[in-house]
Structure formats: C-alpha cells, structure tokens
C-alpha cells in the first residue's frame, strides 16, 4: 500500500464519520415534541403542540369540530356532528391515541408522545 492509500483511508473514515454525524443530527432535529395532528378526509390540516394551551376550530363547509388543548391533552369540546361521539370521548395525550369524528371525517392523532403501551382499544 502506498502512502496515498492511507490518506485515502483516513479521508474516507472522516467522511463516513461526518455523514454519520449529519444523519444523527438530522434524526435528533426531526424528533419533535408531542403534538396533536389534525386530519380532514385523511389529509393533514395542522399540527398543534400539546405544550401550548389553545383552541382551534376545524371547519369544513357547515360542519365543525372544536379542538381544545389544555394541560398537555387534546380534547374535542364542541362539534356539529349529530352523534357527538368525538365530544363524548375523553381527552387524549399518548402516542397513537386519537379522537375521531366520523360524520365530519375528522381525526386528531397524537404524535411524538410517549407510548401508551397499547396497540388498539375496544369499546
């Protein structure tokens, strides 16, 4: 092996380490704080961090749902749907939990939060 081969090796190792650092940094940046993600007809409408208390009206034509975020939990407090299943549902805060309003085709899902350790629920 020539001296240049060793320089090459060193350079590649440095590049690999740099790439590794970049990838790690990227995944660190992309893990985010817990948030409630709102979907209408399966399409993402907005993201609201659970750390900030807020109330949002999710409107679509004449139908609406009011999403309230308080004390780190997301809850539907009011809705135009007839069955009110979404309003009756308790507030959610754990990874994978959701609030769903079928008549309005609206769903709120919790992302980036701690796992509830549950894969599905039945009611």
């Amino acid at each position: 092996m020539k001296r240049n081969d060793f320089i090459l090796l060193a350079a590649i190792v440095v590049i690999a380490l740099a790439a590794f650092g970049a990838v790690s940094l990227y995944s660190a940046v992309s893990t985010r704080e817990p948030e409630a993600v709102v979907y209408l007809n399966g399409e993402e409408q907005g993201r609201y961090p659970l750390s900030e208390d807020t109330a949002v009206e999710i409107r679509q034509g004449n139908s609406y749902n009011i999403l309230q975020i308080r004390d780190g939990k997301a809850d539907i407090t009011e809705a135009s749907c007839p069955d009110k299943i979404c309003v009756n549902h308790r507030a959610v805060s754990k990874q994978g939990e959701s609030l769903i309003c079928l008549p309005n085709k609206m769903a709120v899902e919790i992302e980036n939060s701690e796992e509830a350790g549950i894969d599905a629920s039945t009611r």
């Binding site: 081969d5 090459l8 190792v13 790439a19």
Partner: protein
C-alpha cells in the same frame, strides 16, 4: 488469440462463481447492500492485467449473467448502477497513478455502495435510505481493503506467470 480467449473465459467464470457464492452466503448486518464484493476482485485483476475496455465488458457480462440466473430485474439495476460507477471511479483512480491497487479497490468498494444507494433512493423515493450511507461507506472501505490486498497479490503473480503482450490487443 486462444490464450486470450481462455484467460477471459476463466475470468468471466470466476466473476460469475464469486457472485453466486455471495448470493449463497449473504452477509447480514441488518443493513441492505453490505457485501464483500468478491466479484470485484476479478474486475480489478482484469483492469490491471488486460485493459479498461475488457474490465468493463467483464463487469457488464457478469452482472447480466448473475441477474439472469439468480437475480431479478430489480437486483440487476442495483448491480449495474453500483458496478458501473465503481468501475468508472476505479479507472480514473488508476489513471491518476495516485494509488496502489488497494487504494483503487477501496474507491471501487465505496463507490459501488454509493451507486447502489443512489439508485435505491431514486427507486424507493425515500431519502431516509441515506441513513445507511455512513455504514455502507465503511463497509465498502473494509471490503475494498481486503479485496485490494488479495488483488495485488494475484496481479503480481499473474503478471509473472503470463505474458500480458500475448493477451493484450
């Protein structure tokens, strides 16, 4: 002419067999694309004992044969991207006269993996695959060192054993 045919035939067969061995004994580190690249040994030998045109032909024939016998169209595209990029870089590295056979082999190993992952990113449309890049660069380097050392021994002995003028065009 007969010698040349025999020599090329032997290299083709070897490259093919090496591909098959790697297909039978995959290295499973949990990262797709990690492999030793035994077939590259033959390509490097061809590059140093014959010329770049024949190395190129040999590489293409090997990929085609391997793809048709125990691969699939998808694996062939990956091999082709990796193999061709790797060979192009090795030819440039050899011409630059900066590196020994091992250096050239290292570059070949690294760029083989870069070529494959490049195509994978395009095909799967997931930039997330770049996550594997650092490991693939390292694994390509290690494979390159090993193959490089083997190649230089082979080349040294082959050049002694046969008259290159006999087979070079």
């Amino acid at each position: 002419m007969a010698k040349k045919t025999a020599y090329l035939g032997m290299l083709t067969a070897l490259a093919f067999v090496f591909s098959y061995i790697e297909y039978l004994l995959p290295i499973n580190l949990g990262v797709p694309g990690v492999k030793l690249g035994l077939a590259n040994l033959v390509i490097i030998v061809a590059l140093y004992t014959i010329n770049m045109r024949w190395a190129f032909t040999l590489s293409a024939v090997r990929i085609l044969l391997a793809g048709l016998t125990f691969g699939n169209p998808a694996s062939m595209i990956y091999s082709l991207a990796g193999g061709m990029l790797s060979l192009a870089i090795m030819i440039l590295a050899k011409k630059s006269k900066l590196f020994s056979v091992t250096g050239v082999s290292i570059l070949g190993g690294v760029f083989h993996n870069i070529g494959q992952i490049g195509v994978a990113v395009l095909v799967v449309e997931t930039a997330g695959l770049l996550y594997y890049l650092p490991v693939l660069i390292l694994s390509g380097t290690i494979a390159g060192v090993l193959i490089g050392i083997l190649s230089s021994i082979l080349i040294r002995n082959l050049i002694k054993a046969i008259k290159i003028e006999d087979i070079d065009l």
